[in-house]
Symmetry: C2
Amino acid sequence: GSAAQTAIECNTNCLVENGRLRHHPLSNQEENQRLLAHELSVKGRFDNIVPVLKRIAGLQHEVDFSDRAQQIAREQLGFELPAQILADAWIADLDMRALYGECVMQTVSLMAAQAELNNPHRGTDEAVAFFLDSGYHAVDISPCSDGRLKGLVRYILRLPDGAVRSRKAYAGAMFDVDANVKRWIETELMRFREGRPVTADAGTRYLKVVVYHWSSSDPTHEGCAAHCSNVTKAAEAGLKRLGEFRQAIENSFCCGASVDTLLIGVDTDTDAIKVHIPDAKGEMSLHRFIDNMELYQSSANDDPSAARLKIYRAIQAASAVGGWGSGEGEPHEGMRRLIATLLINNLSQIDYVCSYRGGRYADIGHAERFISVGDGFEEFQLRNLAYFAHLYTVEEGATDMDVGISIFGKLNIKHGLPAPVAIHYRYDSRVPGCRERTVERCRRVKMAIESRYTSLSQKGLLVCGMTVQDKRPGSPIERVDAETP
Amino acid sequence: GSAAQTAIECNTNCLVENGRLRHHPLSNQEENQRLLAHELSVKGRFDNIVPVLKRIAGLQHEVDFSDRAQQIAREQLGFELPAQILADAWIADLDMRALYGECVMQTVSLMAAQAELNNPHRGTDEAVAFFLDSGYHAVDISPCSDGRLKGLVRYILRLPDGAVRSRKAYAGAMFDVDANVKRWIETELMRFREGRPVTADAGTRYLKVVVYHWSSSDPTHEGCAAHCSNVTKAAEAGLKRLGEFRQAIENSFCCGASVDTLLIGVDTDTDAIKVHIPDAKGEMSLHRFIDNMELYQSSANDDPSAARLKIYRAIQAASAVGGWGSGEGEPHEGMRRLIATLLINNLSQIDYVCSYRGGRYADIGHAERFISVGDGFEEFQLRNLAYFAHLYTVEEGATDMDVGISIFGKLNIKHGLPAPVAIHYRYDSRVPGCRERTVERCRRVKMAIESRYTSLSQKGLLVCGMTVQDKRPGSPIERVDAETP
Ligand SMILES: [Zn+2]
Ligand SMILES: [Zn+2]
Ligand SMILES: [Zn+2]
Ligand SMILES: [Zn+2]
């Protein structure tokens, strides 16, 4: 493997030789550098807001304040501040809470727009072909909504943007079986009616993946909050929900309707994954899995082809395990190929955390920059960037919302900064009136949030921004005004 | 036509000969008598509650009060009263509000169970065959949620129970296009994947019907509240929404995907319908329609086959109309057959209103017995029996709910009686966990209603009952307890 330029203080996970960091033979260094640049640029933008606003605050009693503030904002943040807030500064002091909220919203939109420019391949044939190679016409992933899993698709699993049909996150990865059955139905109709992405007789499958998580450094405190940081509970619950989904499809549709399922765990401290290997019948066990951190270590000194072989052998070995974890044979060939690909992809991410984070994230806990409500921004999914509440009404999603507000109680509110809430929903421009209804939903959800947290809202400690976006890949993000026009 | 036994005071709509009521040659008198018995029995049960409770209230200070009250309730209402409420009567006075609420909920369940026993044909091949005869594999009707349209399917249109795929009601008949597209997708998948009810190559169609309404006696006050009692607005809005649905299907799916649409109006004073005749391209106009009250009058003296012929000629004549209402030819044969069937069926209902209601309902305004929240009870759909709020969350359905509470402000609350709210949702027993999630939804909606109308709720002027029911035809109604177990 190649050696990093400088010696870093590393933990025992990392591959160190003569005090220097080594890379795993299968890790993709170019991609790692690209992803690092992206992460630093996006997070830097958000982390820059407070210092810039401090500087601006210091100027508020000068005569040419508005002009100077705007110049600083343009140069340092990339956008202008609301003129009215600056103009009103002479009356009371500058409304820093409103200004901060506005800056977060503007940065979200700016970053989403930039990410879109940098990722022109979303939704292309290339992305679809990725899973078709393993025999899957659709892959649907439900991770936990924890902010530390936000980099799942692009960083941890290194999947091409647009390859995953749905990646809706739920507290504790407890996805909505009924909604998922509906999504399955839509996918099936496309295949049967229009032969998209392949015809129904091609023999491809639908794959549903659940991703749970734990913290290897502080397992009893920094694991999944929805499962009380109990990793066994989290994995068991995921396995059960997957079984329910599969059973729902098998019970509701005849002619051998079924789906493949896969359970994956993530150590949020190192981003290493654990893959639970299905047997020949598609059944999984909590006791039959591959720990990718072990594979990372054990294949570190191999050449690339030997390392690759070791991965396929690990799948065979896991399938042959006895006792609690014993199953009925190996998974089918497409599933084996898919698991191998995921494991290899994740080796690059383990290397990424070693190269740039000393093998273990410093922010093992929460450090989100905003609360993302609704459909979320597919454009930039980064670890600890956002707390995600995938809700259509606050009435149903109150629990998720309360958790988010309590996280921001510690991160922002106790320092006097508001919790920034980015309400974002996607619409289908092919359906008449859908955009108008989606805009209405934004406003209704905003009202419901403000009424649930009235006291915060009245003190300016809760700032909601609203945006909508067409579902077609590459569509711009459109800001929604608070007032009904 | 046959003559009724006694002379009735009739309005000008009715067919009167020598001071006696005559029936239309095509009306089904046996069915009319069956439907009358059903209506009187169900409404009688509800209208009996107050007199029985008054009688019981008069006994509350007697020694054997509980026993005597229970005996009266069993004999007069068909069920027992909650023992605790009776037992507590000696402390304060009898809690009549709680008792009334409980009686309404018990009566709802009892009536639904009885209706189920009397209608064993729901969901059978017979029902499906009804529309397949006209070339439709699925028919989906969206009436306004107004209580006066609750008898639409079984009384006004005389359709067999189970023939209609969906009859979800919306304020102003403004159905949810997005939800309807999802229902269309499910129907299509069944056809393509499982050949149900017929295979995709059978050339059948999907029909979406919207039903608006007006009041011929008091058009500017007793029309559709959601459209400010403006019948032109109501019809226009229905036509527009139908067009949007059709366009959504055509835009979102290729290979010539489309749907047939039909707009029907109902005069809620007489139950006579107005059918807007589609042209050869499926387009409709507000100015091209058949008024069934006119047909009823003009064919009253014909023999049955001449009357039948007149109906088909009326469709031809409407299709040939010029000016504002001109279209491009006649509708296709299946649509013509369907329209003729609907018109003939409705002749029986016009006769029903003439025979038993003097040609015009006495309760042209609101006289609902309870508020039905959620999926509603398919088992008994009767005019003015329930105000319907088809909602999944109070956050989204607040407007509908407010209208219902305001109607019951006049009907019940100003007399000191509570507004009875029957929360009812259906679940799919084939989907694991669906029942539990549906029970949760009942409780969540109940909480949201009680918190929206806190002051009424605290005074006992709002009583919510909760029930769930499996989606399969013939499933029993299951009561849900208020407390989490
Ligand atoms: Zn390291
Ligand atoms: Zn979690
Ligand atoms: Zn009459
Ligand atoms: Zn109406």
